[in-house]
Symmetry: C2
Amino acid sequence: MNARRKAARAQILRAAADLFRERGYQASTVDHIAARLGMSKASLYTHFRAKEEMLAAISRETIEAFTRDLSLVLGSRLGPEDKLRRVVRQHVQFVIANRSFLTVFFGEEANLPSRFVRSLAAQKDRYDKGVERIVLEGIRGGVFRDVPPRLVVFGVLGMVNWVHKWYNPDGRWGAEEISGAFLSLIEGGLLRQRRRGAALSGRLRRLERELHEVARQLDA
Amino acid sequence: MNARRKAARAQILRAAADLFRERGYQASTVDHIAARLGMSKASLYTHFRAKEEMLAAISRETIEAFTRDLSLVLGSRLGPEDKLRRVVRQHVQFVIANRSFLTVFFGEEANLPSRFVRSLAAQKDRYDKGVERIVLEGIRGGVFRDVPPRLVVFGVLGMVNWVHKWYNPDGRWGAEEISGAFLSLIEGGLLRQRRRGAALSGRLRRLERELHEVARQLDA
């Protein structure tokens, strides 16, 4: 595919995804997409033979982008802490930059051909397992606490995937603020570390009293 | 509405939600719903005049259930820590028990009448603000760390809402395990508290060396 054809294809998919997001897939037609692009239906058909093909292409390109980003992280020499940080940052960035793709990817599965749904489910599962490897590596290395890794993955991906539902491009937060707040929550949690601190400081207070008693006897 | 009519209505909405989840809203018809219930279309129409009414009722009942549960928590005398715990637990429970409702609620907004979309958005916003009040109360009271409260809410609700996407009723986790793992992550975070611990234990080691020196001089 030459560069110009590739660019036209990407433009079509973006217009289709925007339309599917706004109107829903079923209510959108190839005519609408062509009209939005100011393109004839005939030349649109040289790229995609049907609306179904556009939907499948949007889903395929989304999971492939996620998978590509993740495998770069998994192949790096970073520690599990930095790997997880990078996954969260790039995931949030991708979701924000491709909101329509993500809305279609997560919302229109019922309209995909069943054969494709199965291969998509397998790819998603591989993605989840890749993130899970990072969490497992962190638990085994003593960097992360021992929380069920699969549920950690579902929790973290829930936070970052959900961004496509509430993100407002005119709002006050960009990708950096969002992933910063999420990472702060994921890494450090919301609770101030009072409990554990209180237990240890109790033991220190007892030692302090004993030292005080020693000092008193030395003075005497 | 008498009890029998109420039960029939609830049964219809459940069948409609299941169907919308499996086939998508657009591809489902009133005929399909009636067939699934073994009910005549005529008697179905005594409850709902159109498919659109069922969709609106599913969305309305979902947000009303969330709002009711939350206002009980907000009106309680619990501390912010326990309030947040209860919100997470009951939210996960509700999502698991009403997976079809949630899939329709989150996935078929494009098919709702626009007037209803606005009032639904306002109700959702009130719900988010209610959870935000709990987070703010915790931050002001020094129980929670100072992470941007609105982003904490989006993060936490993302985790729990996302459950409807991956939850498997035949899987290994129930509501208790899921909310337990999420709460452990939300409250304590994933990182072991090594950093802060390391700094404090360094100071203790220095004190220990001084005490050792005092003991040595007492011996001499």
